[in-house]
Every structure is written in C-alpha cells, then in structure tokens.
C-alpha cells in the first residue's frame, strides 16, 4: 500500500480520539499518539482494534507496545498486510 494512502487511513482511524486538533492537522509519520495528539493512553487499545478491523489483521501485545507513533503503526500494518 502506498504511504499516502496508508497515512490517510491512519488519520481517519485516530481522528475520533484526538485531543489536539492543531497537531492532528499537521499529522505526519513522525507524529506520536499520546505526546503529540494528546490521545488518552487508555484509548490506544481502541485504536488498535480499529486498525485491526480496517486492515483485517491481528496485532499482538508486543507489537501493540511498539505502536506509539504513526510511523511505527504504519510499519506494523505494512508487515502484516505484506505477509
């Protein structure tokens, strides 16, 4: 999947949880979920569920711990949909 396409999908997934609209508008691969977007850390598990549903994949606990930024999330999604 192209990076732009993947970022657009990630953006749509995280939008409901975002507490900092400014950071969301400037979302890039480097953006972090809790630090930049001010997402409540409890909601990270909801984002994982939404990612799982969107891409029809399953993410394990170790991978989930890595998924703190858009870039990390994209890498994990890419590795799953490639296999």
């Amino acid at each position: 999947m192209k990076n732009e396409e993947l970022i657009a999908k990630m953006k749509a997934i995280v939008q409901p949880y975002v507490q900092d609209e400014g950071a969301f508008n400037e979302l890039s691969e480097e953006t972090t979920f809790v630090g930049d977007l001010k997402i409540n850390s409890a909601n990270l598990v909801d984002i994982i569920l939404d990612v799982e549903d969107e891409f029809d994949i399953r993410i394990d606990n170790e991978e989930m711990e890595q998924m703190l930024s858009v870039k990390a999330a994209m890498a994990i999604v890419n590795s799953k949909i490639a296999t």
Partner: protein
C-alpha cells in the same frame, strides 16, 4: 449548626426528560409507561416499562462523540444528563478546563451499572476475544462508573463515590451528601442515582413474578399504587440529581434555593420480625420514619405531604399502616400522600432520587401531584386514612414540610424530610 439546602436539580424520567418537562408531566399526571416489543420477544410476563425518551442529538448535548464510542450503559447516560443538568441549574458552568474544586463532591448511586455493556463483554470473553473488548468496559460496568464519569466531567475534588442499597439508593445518596456537608467535610455535594433499563436489568424481577402481567394491552394503566386492582409493579428507569449546598455557601453565591433538607434517617430491619430479603420489617420502617422526624427537629403533626415508596404490590397497605403508626395520624388527620410510581413505574435504584426531585418541586411550587390509576383505592388503606388524602387530581396547597421514604430489597429503609425555604 450548618443548614443544607438544594440549589440545583436535574431529572431524566420516563414521563419527562429535563426538569421543566418533568414538572409539567407530574402536574398533569402524564404516564411514561409504554409497551416494549423486546420484552415480549424475550417471553417476559410483564411487557411494559418506563423508559426515558432520549434522542441521539440529545445525547450529544451531554457526552462527546468520543465518550459515546462503544457506549452502552443507559444508566450512566441518564445519570450524566441529570447530574450535569443539576450542576448547571445550580449556576455552575461545565468546562473541561475548570479549576478542580476540593469543596465539591459527588455521591451518585446505582444498582447494576451498564448491564448491556456487561453482556457485550461476556460474549467477547466467552468467544476468546477478551483483547477486543475495548477500553471502556470497566468504566461502564463498575458500580462507581456513574460517579467516575460525573466527577471528571465536572472536576470535583471532594469525595466522589457510588452508594448502592437497592430501591433506597437514591434517597440514601441524598442523605449521605447531606451528612457530609452537615459534618463540614464539603460545601457542596452532587447527589442522586440512576438505573439502567431493558430486559437484562428487569428480567430477574419478572422471574420473581413481582411485576404486573395484566396490563400489556393498557400500559398507562399498569402502575396502580394504593389501588385494589394493583397487581405488581411496572419497571422503570432514569435518574434524578440534586446539588446540595451549605446555606452559607448558597447565600454567598446568591443561588436559587429550592428547599431545605432538614434531616432524615437510614436503617435496616435486619430481616427479622417479619422482614426478609424482599419484605420489610414493619418495626424498622416505623423507626426509620420516627428517627427521621426526630433528626429533623420537627413534630410528626407538621408534615403536610408524604411521597411514599408505594410500588403497587400487596405491600402498599402495610406501608400506609406503618406511616399511620409512625406519625400517630390517621383518617382525615393524615398528610396528603402520593406515589410517583403511578406515572413512571418503579425506577429501582433511580426511584428515590427521581421521586425526591418530584417532592421538592411540590414544595417549591406549592402543589401536590395527582396519583393516577388510583380511582379504586384499596379498602384496607381506606380503613386507615381518608380518601381525600390520596389526591387523584392536581392540588394547589400550601406545603411547608414533606417526607420522602424509600424501602429496598435487603430490608433497608431511608426517610428524608424536606422543608420549604423562605
């Protein structure tokens, strides 16, 4: 001694959502009981119930789209609505960035929280999908979910907790908040209670055959407290809330005062002397009422109106007998008495708070709301008190003191005394 007054109220009831709609409905004797296909489909004997009408747009006035994601707890919804309304009614703003207020707390009761959400979660667990339950199962199903939601929405820094004592829950919450202010531990307490609706919360009562099955074709006639044709209670749901405040704080803020809480009492019959898990010990009920009167520093003869527990089961006559003995008043000397359950059904954990809101509205606006479905008062009750003391039409009356009592499973009792504020 600190005096405690009510400076804000909110209510989500089957016959009226919001204080204004509810006030109008109780004066008109409007029933909020309707027929429910899902109860029929689940083979309930009783297919009627009282459910507040809340649109999706209305929900968004109280909770954010994020809070409503995966949200499936009707009781918490009703509790948040009533609690936030009461807070605003008392003259406070709701602002996520407000300063934390260590002088304000919350005691908001419930019976079972988020039973629909709990059902969802159990299906996930049983399917081996515990990881896919999402982040809000605990918050929606823990008993203290409602106080947790309200505490955060309003930024409360004093005690934030949930009480639970079956059908006395709401009345007990008010008394617990009252005592906290009285004891100088808080200046203001948001108090109230809420209850879920639907088959999963009502099913156990249907199984006990304590709900009426005779009015599936006439839902609005189903809830018949004090009537000879009463045949069991009608289930209800919703929430009621009050902001209690020290008189000093209320005057300092220039707040509108609905009424004063003079005092009250909470006790248990210990499932002795006729009391069981489901039936009240009459001696304890009478003692609860007389202790509430004593605690309030009034005399029984000064009570103008009673809002009873009166559920429309065979126990209504016993309740009236308990009141006559506790007050030492019978016949035409008995206070006016009514039961909101005739209009909304038995709102279970929410009953005490919704009914207390109705009682306080009566004092504020000087009226006694009508008992509906009570054209055929039970003869046992008429042997104890005069028919005219059970109003069937709206009465405009000067009221100074009103008593509210609730009795619950586990043989627990609560009685509270409100006074008009001048």
């Amino acid at each position: 001694m600190t005096r405690v007054v009510i400076t804000g109220m909110g209510v989500v009831a089957p016959n009226g959502v919001g204080l204004e709609a509810f006030n109008e409905a109780i004066k008109l004797g409007t029933s909020g009981v309707t027929y429910h296909d899902n109860l029929k489909a689940a083979n309930f004997s009783c297919c009627i119930g009282g459910i507040p009408q809340v649109s999706e747009e209305k929900k968004l006035e109280y909770l954010t789209p994020l809070q409503l994601r995966g949200f499936n707890s009707s009781g918490i919804l009703y509790g948040c609505m009533a609690g936030m309304d009461a807070w605003k009614d008392a003259g406070f703003e709701i602002d996520p960035d407000s300063d934390l207020d260590y002088e304000c707390g919350c005691i908001f009761g419930t019976g079972t929280s988020g039973v629909e959400k709990f059902r969802e979660a159990i299906y996930k667990v049983d399917a081996g999908e515990v990881k896919r339950m999402g982040s809000t199962v605990v918050l929606q199903t823990m008993a203290s979910g409602i106080s947790a939601y309200l505490g955060g929405i309003l930024g409360l820094g004093n005690q934030v907790t949930t009480n639970s004592s079956a059908c006395t829950t709401g009345t007990e919450a008010i008394l617990m908040g009252f005592e906290r202010i009285k004891n100088g531990h808080a200046k203001r307490m948001l108090v109230g209670s809420c209850s879920d609706d639907g088959p999963y919360i009502w099913g156990g009562f249907d199984a006990m055959r304590v709900m009426t099955y005779k009015h599936n074709d006439s839902p609005q006639k189903g809830s018949r407290p004090m009537s000879v044709s009463a045949s069991g209670f009608v289930p209800g749901s919703g929430a009621g809330a009050m902001v209690l405040e020290s008189l000093e704080s209320a005057i300092e803020r220039g707040a509108c005062i609905y009424a004063e809480v003079l005092g009250g009492h909470v006790n248990s019959g210990g499932q002795r002397n006729g009391g069981t898990l489901t039936a009240p010990n009459p001696e304890a009920v009478q003692r609860c009422i007389t202790s509430a009167i004593e605690n309030s520093g009034i005399e029984a003869k000064t009570i103008d109106a009673i809002n009873g527990h009166l559920t429309a089961t065979s126990k209504d006559s016993l309740e009236i007998e308990n009141w006559t003995k506790a007050l030492g008043r019978t016949g035409a000397d008995f206070p006016y008495i009514n039961s909101l359950k005739s209009m909304v059904g038995h709102c279970l954990a929410a009953a005490g708070s919704i009914e207390s809101v109705a009682t306080v509205l009566q004092l504020k606006e000087q009226f006694v709301f009508p008992n509906i479905n009570c054209e055929d008062v039970h003869p046992e009750i008429l042997e104890l008190i005069a028919d005219e003391k059970i109003p069937k039409q709206l009465l405009k009356k000067e009221l100074t003191i009103a008593a509210k009592a609730s009795f619950g499973f586990g043989d627990v009792n609560a009685c509270i005394i409100f006074k008009k504020y001048n």
